[in-house]
Subunit: 244 residues, 2 copies
Protein backbone atom coordinates (compact mmCIF):
# COMPACT_ATOMS: atom_id res chain seq x y z
CA UNK A 1 0.00 0.00 0.00
CA UNK A 2 1.29 3.47 -0.75
CA UNK A 3 1.69 5.94 2.10
CA UNK A 4 -1.09 8.14 0.83
CA UNK A 5 -3.83 5.58 1.44
CA UNK A 6 -2.56 4.42 4.80
CA UNK A 7 -4.26 5.80 7.90
CA UNK A 8 -2.33 8.38 9.94
CA UNK A 9 -0.51 7.74 13.20
CA UNK A 10 0.43 10.60 15.54
CA UNK A 11 1.58 10.98 19.12
CA UNK A 12 0.39 13.63 21.55
CA UNK A 13 3.14 14.00 24.19
CA UNK A 14 1.04 15.81 26.79
CA UNK A 15 -2.65 16.56 27.45
CA UNK A 16 -1.68 20.24 27.10
CA UNK A 17 -1.02 19.58 23.40
CA UNK A 18 -4.23 17.67 22.69
CA UNK A 19 -5.91 20.66 21.02
CA UNK A 20 -3.34 20.45 18.21
CA UNK A 21 -4.69 17.12 17.02
CA UNK A 22 -7.84 16.23 15.14
CA UNK A 23 -9.40 13.29 17.01
CA UNK A 24 -12.52 12.97 14.87
CA UNK A 25 -12.90 9.54 13.31
CA UNK A 26 -9.67 8.62 15.11
CA UNK A 27 -8.83 5.87 17.58
CA UNK A 28 -7.28 7.48 20.63
CA UNK A 29 -5.05 5.32 22.81
CA UNK A 30 -4.79 6.64 26.39
CA UNK A 31 -1.36 5.81 27.83
CA UNK A 32 -0.56 6.04 31.52
CA UNK A 33 2.01 3.31 32.03
CA UNK A 34 2.75 4.18 35.69
CA UNK A 35 0.12 2.93 36.47
CA UNK A 36 -3.49 3.62 35.50
CA UNK A 37 -3.60 1.93 32.12
CA UNK A 38 -1.49 -1.00 33.40
CA UNK A 39 -3.98 -1.55 36.22
CA UNK A 40 -6.92 -1.32 33.81
CA UNK A 41 -5.42 -4.01 31.54
CA UNK A 42 -4.69 -6.29 34.53
CA UNK A 43 -8.10 -5.88 36.17
CA UNK A 44 -10.06 -6.54 32.97
CA UNK A 45 -7.87 -9.46 31.95
CA UNK A 46 -8.30 -10.95 35.42
CA UNK A 47 -12.07 -10.90 35.05
CA UNK A 48 -13.31 -7.51 36.21
CA UNK A 49 -16.69 -6.79 34.60
CA UNK A 50 -15.63 -3.24 33.79
CA UNK A 51 -13.47 -0.35 34.94
CA UNK A 52 -15.06 3.07 35.47
CA UNK A 53 -12.38 5.78 35.26
CA UNK A 54 -13.32 8.83 37.31
CA UNK A 55 -11.56 12.13 37.93
CA UNK A 56 -11.96 12.73 41.66
CA UNK A 57 -11.98 10.83 44.93
CA UNK A 58 -15.50 12.05 45.93
CA UNK A 59 -16.83 10.97 42.52
CA UNK A 60 -15.14 7.60 42.98
CA UNK A 61 -16.83 7.10 46.38
CA UNK A 62 -20.19 8.25 45.02
CA UNK A 63 -20.14 5.94 41.97
CA UNK A 64 -18.82 3.08 44.10
CA UNK A 65 -21.82 3.44 46.44
CA UNK A 66 -24.37 3.16 43.68
CA UNK A 67 -22.62 0.39 41.72
CA UNK A 68 -23.33 -3.17 42.72
CA UNK A 69 -20.34 -5.40 43.46
CA UNK A 70 -17.87 -2.56 43.00
CA UNK A 71 -14.41 -1.75 44.30
CA UNK A 72 -13.24 1.84 44.69
CA UNK A 73 -9.58 2.45 44.04
CA UNK A 74 -7.10 5.24 43.65
CA UNK A 75 -3.97 6.72 45.10
CA UNK A 76 -2.71 10.15 45.90
CA UNK A 77 1.01 10.56 46.61
CA UNK A 78 1.60 6.80 46.50
CA UNK A 79 -1.02 5.92 49.16
CA UNK A 80 -4.61 4.72 48.94
CA UNK A 81 -6.68 7.89 48.88
CA UNK A 82 -8.83 8.54 51.95
CA UNK A 83 -12.28 7.03 51.58
CA UNK A 84 -11.22 4.50 48.93
CA UNK A 85 -10.60 0.78 49.41
CA UNK A 86 -7.70 -0.10 47.15
CA UNK A 87 -4.61 1.22 45.41
CA UNK A 88 -3.45 1.72 41.85
CA UNK A 89 -1.28 -1.33 41.33
CA UNK A 90 -1.93 -3.95 38.65
CA UNK A 91 -0.73 -6.55 41.15
CA UNK A 92 -3.57 -5.78 43.55
CA UNK A 93 -6.16 -7.20 41.19
CA UNK A 94 -5.74 -10.99 40.77
CA UNK A 95 -8.74 -12.89 39.42
CA UNK A 96 -9.49 -14.34 42.86
CA UNK A 97 -10.26 -10.81 43.96
CA UNK A 98 -11.50 -8.87 40.97
CA UNK A 99 -13.54 -11.39 38.97
CA UNK A 100 -17.03 -10.16 38.18
CA UNK A 101 -16.52 -6.88 39.98
CA UNK A 102 -16.65 -3.31 38.72
CA UNK A 103 -13.50 -1.35 39.48
CA UNK A 104 -14.15 2.37 40.01
CA UNK A 105 -10.70 3.88 39.54
CA UNK A 106 -9.54 7.43 40.05
CA UNK A 107 -6.13 8.52 38.77
CA UNK A 108 -4.69 11.96 38.22
CA UNK A 109 -3.26 11.96 34.73
CA UNK A 110 -4.73 9.09 32.70
CA UNK A 111 -8.33 9.71 33.67
CA UNK A 112 -8.05 13.40 32.95
CA UNK A 113 -6.77 12.81 29.42
CA UNK A 114 -9.45 10.19 28.78
CA UNK A 115 -12.16 12.69 29.72
CA UNK A 116 -10.59 15.42 27.57
CA UNK A 117 -11.06 13.43 24.36
CA UNK A 118 -14.55 14.12 23.12
CA UNK A 119 -15.07 13.15 19.52
CA UNK A 120 -12.89 10.11 18.88
CA UNK A 121 -14.13 7.08 16.93
CA UNK A 122 -13.02 4.88 19.85
CA UNK A 123 -11.01 5.35 23.01
CA UNK A 124 -8.87 2.45 24.19
CA UNK A 125 -6.16 2.21 26.83
CA UNK A 126 -2.61 1.00 26.31
CA UNK A 127 0.29 -0.16 28.47
CA UNK A 128 3.18 -2.56 28.08
CA UNK A 129 0.99 -5.20 29.75
CA UNK A 130 -1.25 -5.19 26.66
CA UNK A 131 1.19 -3.86 24.04
CA UNK A 132 0.69 -6.50 21.33
CA UNK A 133 -3.08 -6.62 21.81
CA UNK A 134 -3.26 -2.85 21.29
CA UNK A 135 -1.06 -3.05 18.18
CA UNK A 136 -3.10 -5.89 16.66
CA UNK A 137 -6.29 -3.92 17.30
CA UNK A 138 -4.91 -0.75 15.69
CA UNK A 139 -3.69 -2.62 12.63
CA UNK A 140 -7.06 -4.34 12.21
CA UNK A 141 -9.15 -1.16 12.50
CA UNK A 142 -7.43 0.70 9.61
CA UNK A 143 -8.34 4.07 11.06
CA UNK A 144 -6.32 7.15 12.01
CA UNK A 145 -4.67 6.74 15.40
CA UNK A 146 -3.59 9.20 18.07
CA UNK A 147 -1.40 7.82 20.84
CA UNK A 148 -2.12 10.07 23.81
CA UNK A 149 0.46 10.20 26.60
CA UNK A 150 -1.10 11.05 29.96
CA UNK A 151 2.22 12.60 31.06
CA UNK A 152 2.63 13.98 34.62
CA UNK A 153 0.59 17.08 35.35
CA UNK A 154 0.98 17.97 31.66
CA UNK A 155 4.75 17.48 31.73
CA UNK A 156 6.29 15.21 29.13
CA UNK A 157 7.27 11.87 30.61
CA UNK A 158 9.60 9.15 29.47
CA UNK A 159 7.56 6.01 30.17
CA UNK A 160 4.42 6.99 28.28
CA UNK A 161 6.46 8.23 25.32
CA UNK A 162 8.51 5.04 25.35
CA UNK A 163 5.32 2.98 25.16
CA UNK A 164 4.04 5.18 22.33
CA UNK A 165 7.36 4.55 20.58
CA UNK A 166 6.97 0.80 21.08
CA UNK A 167 3.53 0.91 19.45
CA UNK A 168 4.68 3.21 16.62
CA UNK A 169 7.58 0.85 15.89
CA UNK A 170 5.45 -2.30 15.89
CA UNK A 171 2.69 -0.88 13.65
CA UNK A 172 4.97 1.21 11.40
CA UNK A 173 4.19 -0.65 8.16
CA UNK A 174 0.47 -0.06 8.51
CA UNK A 175 0.38 3.70 9.04
CA UNK A 176 1.60 6.90 7.42
CA UNK A 177 3.42 9.23 9.77
CA UNK A 178 4.78 12.70 9.28
CA UNK A 179 4.86 13.58 12.95
CA UNK A 180 8.11 14.45 14.73
CA UNK A 181 6.74 13.12 18.01
CA UNK A 182 6.45 9.70 16.39
CA UNK A 183 10.01 9.94 15.07
CA UNK A 184 11.35 10.95 18.50
CA UNK A 185 9.38 8.24 20.31
CA UNK A 186 10.73 5.60 17.93
CA UNK A 187 14.30 6.78 18.56
CA UNK A 188 13.65 6.61 22.30
CA UNK A 189 12.35 3.08 21.88
CA UNK A 190 15.50 2.15 19.95
CA UNK A 191 17.62 3.53 22.80
CA UNK A 192 15.63 1.49 25.32
CA UNK A 193 15.93 -1.70 23.27
CA UNK A 194 19.70 -1.10 23.12
CA UNK A 195 19.70 -1.01 26.95
CA UNK A 196 18.25 -4.52 27.02
CA UNK A 197 14.91 -3.90 28.69
CA UNK A 198 12.42 -1.16 29.35
CA UNK A 199 12.78 -0.93 33.10
CA UNK A 200 16.55 -0.41 32.99
CA UNK A 201 15.95 2.41 30.53
CA UNK A 202 13.30 3.95 32.79
CA UNK A 203 15.21 3.82 36.06
CA UNK A 204 16.54 7.27 35.21
CA UNK A 205 13.16 8.97 34.82
CA UNK A 206 11.30 11.38 37.06
CA UNK A 207 8.33 9.06 37.62
CA UNK A 208 10.54 6.08 38.49
CA UNK A 209 12.31 8.22 41.06
CA UNK A 210 9.03 9.47 42.51
CA UNK A 211 7.39 6.04 42.76
CA UNK A 212 10.49 4.20 43.97
CA UNK A 213 10.49 6.57 46.97
CA UNK A 214 7.20 4.83 47.85
CA UNK A 215 8.79 1.39 47.45
CA UNK A 216 7.02 0.66 44.15
CA UNK A 217 10.00 -0.68 42.17
CA UNK A 218 8.46 -4.13 41.75
CA UNK A 219 5.22 -2.56 40.55
CA UNK A 220 7.05 -0.59 37.88
CA UNK A 221 9.02 -3.63 36.78
CA UNK A 222 5.73 -5.46 36.30
CA UNK A 223 4.21 -2.50 34.43
CA UNK A 224 7.03 -2.63 31.87
CA UNK A 225 6.74 -6.36 31.15
CA UNK A 226 5.07 -6.75 27.76
CA UNK A 227 1.95 -8.76 27.09
CA UNK A 228 1.05 -10.09 30.53
CA UNK A 229 -2.57 -9.03 30.01
CA UNK A 230 -3.44 -9.32 26.30
CA UNK A 231 -6.73 -7.46 26.23
CA UNK A 232 -7.93 -4.23 24.62
CA UNK A 233 -9.85 -2.08 27.12
CA UNK A 234 -12.32 0.04 25.16
CA UNK A 235 -14.57 2.82 26.42
CA UNK A 236 -18.29 2.12 26.10
CA UNK A 237 -20.29 4.93 27.65
CA UNK A 238 -18.53 5.64 30.94
CA UNK A 239 -17.06 2.15 31.29
CA UNK A 240 -13.95 0.44 30.00
CA UNK A 241 -14.66 -3.14 28.96
CA UNK A 242 -12.72 -5.74 26.98
CA UNK A 243 -13.06 -5.29 23.21
CA UNK A 244 -14.51 -8.53 21.87
CA UNK B 1 29.86 19.90 43.41
CA UNK B 2 26.90 17.88 44.61
CA UNK B 3 23.71 17.88 42.56
CA UNK B 4 21.77 19.82 45.17
CA UNK B 5 23.82 23.01 44.78
CA UNK B 6 23.99 22.92 41.00
CA UNK B 7 21.60 25.11 39.07
CA UNK B 8 18.67 23.41 37.33
CA UNK B 9 18.42 22.67 33.60
CA UNK B 10 15.06 21.93 31.98
CA UNK B 11 13.69 21.74 28.44
CA UNK B 12 10.32 23.07 27.32
CA UNK B 13 9.38 21.13 24.18
CA UNK B 14 6.67 23.51 22.95
CA UNK B 15 5.47 27.06 23.69
CA UNK B 16 2.16 25.42 24.71
CA UNK B 17 4.00 23.89 27.69
CA UNK B 18 5.77 27.07 28.81
CA UNK B 19 3.31 27.71 31.67
CA UNK B 20 4.59 24.55 33.38
CA UNK B 21 8.01 26.07 33.98
CA UNK B 22 9.18 28.71 36.41
CA UNK B 23 11.26 31.17 34.40
CA UNK B 24 11.96 33.60 37.23
CA UNK B 25 15.67 34.11 37.84
CA UNK B 26 16.25 31.70 34.95
CA UNK B 27 18.15 32.05 31.70
CA UNK B 28 15.81 31.14 28.87
CA UNK B 29 17.36 29.98 25.61
CA UNK B 30 15.04 30.47 22.64
CA UNK B 31 15.64 27.75 20.03
CA UNK B 32 14.34 27.97 16.47
CA UNK B 33 16.99 26.13 14.47
CA UNK B 34 15.08 26.27 11.14
CA UNK B 35 15.80 29.18 10.93
CA UNK B 36 15.17 32.23 13.08
CA UNK B 37 17.82 31.71 15.74
CA UNK B 38 20.36 30.56 13.13
CA UNK B 39 19.81 33.76 11.18
CA UNK B 40 20.08 35.85 14.35
CA UNK B 41 23.47 34.30 15.22
CA UNK B 42 24.76 34.80 11.66
CA UNK B 43 23.57 38.40 11.33
CA UNK B 44 25.03 39.50 14.67
CA UNK B 45 28.31 37.65 14.13
CA UNK B 46 28.60 39.25 10.71
CA UNK B 47 28.35 42.71 12.21
CA UNK B 48 24.68 43.62 12.47
CA UNK B 49 24.21 46.25 15.18
CA UNK B 50 21.19 44.45 16.55
CA UNK B 51 18.28 42.21 15.61
CA UNK B 52 14.75 43.28 16.55
CA UNK B 53 12.46 40.23 16.64
CA UNK B 54 8.85 41.13 15.90
CA UNK B 55 5.69 39.09 15.71
CA UNK B 56 3.92 40.36 12.59
CA UNK B 57 4.69 41.59 9.10
CA UNK B 58 2.95 44.98 9.63
CA UNK B 59 4.92 45.49 12.84
CA UNK B 60 8.11 44.60 10.97
CA UNK B 61 7.37 47.19 8.26
CA UNK B 62 6.44 49.83 10.85
CA UNK B 63 9.57 49.34 12.98
CA UNK B 64 11.73 49.18 9.84
CA UNK B 65 10.40 52.59 8.74
CA UNK B 66 11.33 54.32 11.97
CA UNK B 67 14.70 52.58 12.46
CA UNK B 68 17.71 54.14 10.80
CA UNK B 69 19.83 51.89 8.60
CA UNK B 70 17.48 48.94 9.02
CA UNK B 71 16.61 45.87 7.00
CA UNK B 72 13.20 44.26 7.25
CA UNK B 73 13.11 40.51 6.87
CA UNK B 74 10.81 37.58 7.22
CA UNK B 75 9.22 34.75 5.32
CA UNK B 76 5.84 33.17 5.16
CA UNK B 77 5.52 29.78 3.46
CA UNK B 78 9.16 29.84 2.36
CA UNK B 79 8.95 33.17 0.51
CA UNK B 80 9.86 36.73 1.49
CA UNK B 81 6.71 38.14 3.06
CA UNK B 82 4.94 40.88 1.11
CA UNK B 83 6.22 44.31 2.09
CA UNK B 84 9.52 43.03 3.49
CA UNK B 85 12.93 43.20 1.85
CA UNK B 86 14.73 40.00 2.77
CA UNK B 87 14.27 36.38 3.76
CA UNK B 88 15.00 34.23 6.77
CA UNK B 89 18.24 32.56 5.74
CA UNK B 90 21.50 32.90 7.67
CA UNK B 91 23.28 32.89 4.31
CA UNK B 92 21.57 36.09 3.23
CA UNK B 93 23.44 38.15 5.79
CA UNK B 94 27.18 38.30 5.02
CA UNK B 95 29.15 41.09 6.68
CA UNK B 96 29.39 42.98 3.36
CA UNK B 97 25.63 43.39 3.55
CA UNK B 98 24.64 43.43 7.20
CA UNK B 99 27.48 45.25 8.96
CA UNK B 100 26.28 48.15 11.10
CA UNK B 101 22.64 47.58 10.20
CA UNK B 102 19.63 46.75 12.35
CA UNK B 103 17.82 43.63 11.22
CA UNK B 104 14.08 43.76 11.93
CA UNK B 105 13.06 40.10 11.72
CA UNK B 106 9.65 38.52 11.86
CA UNK B 107 9.29 34.77 12.27
CA UNK B 108 6.33 32.68 13.26
CA UNK B 109 7.53 30.38 15.99
CA UNK B 110 10.74 31.71 17.53
CA UNK B 111 9.57 35.29 17.92
CA UNK B 112 6.32 34.20 19.50
CA UNK B 113 8.08 32.13 22.15
CA UNK B 114 10.54 34.94 22.86
CA UNK B 115 7.66 37.33 23.51
CA UNK B 116 5.86 34.80 25.72
CA UNK B 117 8.71 34.71 28.25
CA UNK B 118 8.16 37.56 30.68
CA UNK B 119 10.16 37.27 33.83
CA UNK B 120 13.42 35.54 32.92
CA UNK B 121 16.78 36.70 34.25
CA UNK B 122 18.05 36.80 30.65
CA UNK B 123 16.79 35.68 27.28
CA UNK B 124 19.35 34.46 24.75
CA UNK B 125 18.97 32.65 21.43
CA UNK B 126 20.58 29.36 20.48
CA UNK B 127 21.25 27.40 17.31
CA UNK B 128 23.87 24.95 16.11
CA UNK B 129 25.68 27.93 14.56
CA UNK B 130 26.44 29.22 18.07
CA UNK B 131 26.21 25.97 20.05
CA UNK B 132 29.49 26.16 21.96
CA UNK B 133 29.16 29.88 22.67
CA UNK B 134 25.74 29.27 24.21
CA UNK B 135 27.06 26.37 26.31
CA UNK B 136 30.04 28.37 27.57
CA UNK B 137 27.73 31.24 28.50
CA UNK B 138 25.31 28.96 30.41
CA UNK B 139 28.15 27.29 32.32
CA UNK B 140 29.64 30.66 33.26
CA UNK B 141 26.38 32.17 34.52
CA UNK B 142 25.65 29.45 37.12
CA UNK B 143 21.91 30.13 36.99
CA UNK B 144 18.88 27.95 36.33
CA UNK B 145 18.34 27.37 32.62
CA UNK B 146 15.28 26.66 30.53
CA UNK B 147 15.90 25.57 26.95
CA UNK B 148 12.80 26.68 25.08
CA UNK B 149 12.01 24.97 21.78
CA UNK B 150 10.04 27.19 19.42
CA UNK B 151 8.50 24.11 17.80
CA UNK B 152 6.14 24.42 14.82
CA UNK B 153 2.80 26.02 15.62
CA UNK B 154 3.14 24.52 19.11
CA UNK B 155 3.89 21.05 17.73
CA UNK B 156 6.97 19.26 19.02
CA UNK B 157 9.75 19.30 16.46
CA UNK B 158 12.86 17.26 16.04
CA UNK B 159 15.46 19.93 15.18
CA UNK B 160 14.86 22.22 18.15
CA UNK B 161 14.76 19.26 20.55
CA UNK B 162 17.95 17.88 19.02
CA UNK B 163 19.70 21.19 19.62
CA UNK B 164 18.40 21.27 23.20
CA UNK B 165 19.80 17.75 23.58
CA UNK B 166 23.17 18.90 22.24
CA UNK B 167 23.29 21.70 24.82
CA UNK B 168 22.09 19.45 27.67
CA UNK B 169 24.77 16.90 26.78
CA UNK B 170 27.58 19.46 26.61
CA UNK B 171 26.73 21.23 29.88
CA UNK B 172 25.62 18.10 31.79
CA UNK B 173 28.32 18.28 34.47
CA UNK B 174 27.34 21.80 35.48
CA UNK B 175 23.61 21.39 36.03
CA UNK B 176 21.19 19.24 38.00
CA UNK B 177 18.39 17.77 35.94
CA UNK B 178 15.35 15.76 36.89
CA UNK B 179 13.40 16.53 33.76
CA UNK B 180 12.27 13.78 31.39
CA UNK B 181 12.41 16.19 28.45
CA UNK B 182 16.15 16.61 29.08
CA UNK B 183 16.62 12.84 29.26
CA UNK B 184 14.70 12.34 25.99
CA UNK B 185 16.55 15.15 24.20
CA UNK B 186 19.91 13.67 25.25
CA UNK B 187 18.88 10.26 23.90
CA UNK B 188 17.82 11.93 20.63
CA UNK B 189 21.19 13.64 20.46
CA UNK B 190 22.93 10.28 21.00
CA UNK B 191 20.90 8.82 18.11
CA UNK B 192 21.91 11.74 15.88
CA UNK B 193 25.58 11.43 16.79
CA UNK B 194 25.35 7.73 15.91
CA UNK B 195 24.11 8.76 12.46
CA UNK B 196 27.29 10.73 11.90
CA UNK B 197 25.91 14.25 11.56
CA UNK B 198 22.91 16.32 12.47
CA UNK B 199 21.55 16.95 9.00
CA UNK B 200 21.40 13.26 8.08
CA UNK B 201 19.45 12.69 11.28
CA UNK B 202 17.08 15.55 10.45
CA UNK B 203 16.34 14.63 6.85
CA UNK B 204 13.44 12.57 8.14
CA UNK B 205 11.67 15.38 10.01
CA UNK B 206 8.55 17.33 9.20
CA UNK B 207 10.33 20.69 8.99
CA UNK B 208 13.05 19.35 6.69
CA UNK B 209 10.39 18.00 4.38
CA UNK B 210 8.48 21.29 4.44
CA UNK B 211 11.53 23.48 3.76
CA UNK B 212 13.13 21.19 1.20
CA UNK B 213 9.96 21.59 -0.87
CA UNK B 214 11.06 25.25 -1.13
CA UNK B 215 14.59 24.21 -2.19
CA UNK B 216 16.15 25.11 1.15
CA UNK B 217 18.28 21.98 1.67
CA UNK B 218 21.55 23.91 1.59
CA UNK B 219 20.18 26.39 4.12
CA UNK B 220 19.29 23.61 6.51
CA UNK B 221 22.67 21.96 6.08
CA UNK B 222 24.29 25.26 7.04
CA UNK B 223 21.93 25.69 10.01
CA UNK B 224 23.08 22.35 11.44
CA UNK B 225 26.82 23.06 11.18
CA UNK B 226 28.10 23.79 14.69
CA UNK B 227 29.94 26.91 15.72
CA UNK B 228 30.07 28.92 12.50
CA UNK B 229 28.94 32.03 14.38
CA UNK B 230 30.29 31.90 17.94
CA UNK B 231 28.27 34.70 19.55
CA UNK B 232 25.61 34.83 22.25
CA UNK B 233 22.63 36.95 21.14
CA UNK B 234 21.05 38.40 24.28
CA UNK B 235 17.83 40.40 24.59
CA UNK B 236 18.29 43.95 25.83
CA UNK B 237 15.00 45.81 25.78
CA UNK B 238 13.43 44.90 22.46
CA UNK B 239 16.76 44.20 20.72
CA UNK B 240 19.02 41.18 20.47
CA UNK B 241 22.68 42.18 20.67
CA UNK B 242 25.91 40.26 21.17
CA UNK B 243 26.64 39.48 24.83
CA UNK B 244 30.00 41.02 25.64
Amino acid sequence: MSDSVLPRLEICLSPALLHLFDTRDTIVVIIDVFRATSTIAAALHNGAKSVIPVASVPECIEIGKRTENSITAGERDGKIAEGLQHGNSPLEYPSTFVEGKTLVLTTTNGTRLLHMVEDAAEIITGSFLNLSAVCDFLIAQKKNVLLGCAAWKDRFNLEDTLFAGAVATKVADHFATNCDSVRAAKYLHESAVAKGNYIDFLRDSSHYKRLSAYGLEHDMEYCTTPDQHPVVPILKGDKLVIHQ
